[in-house]
């Protein structure tokens, strides 16, 4: 039975499918020793079409793209294309249409989609909160958090900063844990997701995985392999929060932003923080407030120079943050 070490929590996976989507999701984590008991278990099994329909009464608590989430007491149900997953405390039970996970692409889509959301729900009850954000480590400056929704230039900015010398925790998925000054950012390494134009501008088109695309049609970059020794599994509470937005203007600009603006962006990047009825998570909002209070925030208006001169633009950002 595969066992993974998620920042001190043991996560076990089992599967009666030909593959193991849970193990695929957690593949970047170190193996856990056989000693400590599992904090979480992910069980994957084949499901017939009738078994993949919602069983909890509606309405949906929220929808996450094509994933519908319903809640009844401690039980959380996620239903997406080809899969139905329940989270019951520390146990994640996933049923999947065998055809949906018959290919590497299909297994990857389910692992990085509904199964990741289910993991985020389960980890929330253990005090680890999912953030849709990039995390970078700038030599001499500290950790930078880039919370943003899709299409804001987050991955392009993150990759440019890595090319300019930054370490990274990830380009769009992080977890945060802790209280006050002990807040830590936790990585779950995944491929970076780059649009075709961004990959071309960054000189990385040839490094994209030719077999896989994201559900949004972006290319996948195995950043841990492409940028060896830059990946960091954990980071300190961020010294800076950058709030990216594509402007179409010639030059990228940073403008100071207050902690309320930063907290607003963190809320937009934390869909689970405000889901009525979701079990656990009493510490979620205070952790986000601690991040906003502890960092210096800037609105990052990303200009065309990020595509014409990505490394130079990233260096100018680093200079500004260090000034």
């Amino acid at each position: 039975m595969p066992r993974f070490d998620f920042h001190g929590l043991v996560v076990e996976t089992t599967s009666t499918l030909p593959g193991d989507p849970g193990a695929r999701l957690l593949a970047s984590l170190p193996a856990a020793s056989t000693g400590p008991p599992a904090a979480l278990t992910i069980r994957c099994a084949p499901g017939a079409p009738a078994e993949l329909q919602p069983r909890l009464p509606g309405p949906d608590a929220f929808d996450y793209g094509t994933i519908r989430v319903r809640i009844a007491g401690q039980l959380v149900e996620l239903v997406g294309p080809g899969t139905r997953i329940t989270v019951d405390g520390p146990v994640i039970e996933a049923q999947m249409a065998p055809a949906a996970v018959a290919s590497v692409e299909g297994e990857e889509l389910i692992a990085q989609g509904p199964l990741l959301v289910a993991l985020a729900v389960a980890l929330r009850a253990l005090g680890c909160y999912h953030l849709h954000a990039a995390g970078l480590v700038l030599p001499g400056l500290g950790t930078v958090l880039v919370p943003a929704t899709s299409g804001s230039g987050k991955s392009t900015l993150a990759t440019a900063l890595v090319l300019a010398g930054a370490g990274f925790l990830g380009d769009d998925t992080l977890f945060v844990r802790g209280h006050g000054p002990s807040v830590r950012l936790l990585a779950l390494a995944r491929d970076f997701h780059l649009a075709e134009g961004a990959a071309r501008a960054l000189g990385l088109t040839s490094r994209l995985d030719p077999r896989l695309q994201t559900g949004a049609g972006k290319g996948r970059l195995d950043a841990v392999s492409v940028f060896p020794d830059r990946f960091q599994a954990e980071g300190d509470a961020p010294a800076f929060i950058l709030l990216p937005r594509l402007t179409g203007e010639p030059a990228t600009r940073l403008e100071p932003a207050g902690p309320a603006t930063a907290l607003g962006a963190l809320l937009e990047s934390s869909v689970l923080v405000a889901t009525r009825g979701l079990p656990g998570g009493q510490g979620h909002l205070p952790v986000l407030a601690a991040l906003a209070n502890g960092a210096t925030a800037y609105r990052a208006g990303l200009g065309l120079d990020l595509l014409t001169d990505p490394i130079g633009t990233a260096r100018r950002i680093l200079d500004r943050l260090g000034a």
């Binding site: 902690p259 607003g264 809320l267 405000a274 407030a289 906003a292 209070n293």
Partner: protein, 92 residues
């Protein structure tokens, strides 16, 4: 606008610079407040002021140099927006 009270599903998070963020847990809508807005929210949530006139009167006492009419207009606009966003329960 009398009988003001916060929605039961709204949480205020105060920040180090005196600003704050209201989060509506049901709708996931959030609303940023400047320090004066935070004060208005706390007056209402504490029950110290239950209508726009009382809120404006309390603020005017703290800002004697400010035009009371302007304070009243700003308070009325803020309370109307908070009500529209579902952060304040509709007046009875």
């Amino acid at each position: 606008m009398a009988g003001l009270k916060p929605s039961d599903e709204v949480v205020l998070t105060e920040l180090k610079d005196g600003t704050g963020v209201l989060l509506h847990v049901g709708s996931r809508c959030y609303f940023t407040l400047n320090p004066t807005g935070v004060r208005v929210w706390k007056l209402i949530s504490a029950g110290a002021a239950t209508d726009a006139v009382a809120v404006a009167r309390s603020l005017a006492a703290s800002f004697p140099e400010a035009d009371p009419a302007a304070i009243g207009a700003d308070v009325a606009a803020l309370l109307a927006e908070l009500t529209t966003e579902g952060l304040l329960a509709p007046p009875a």
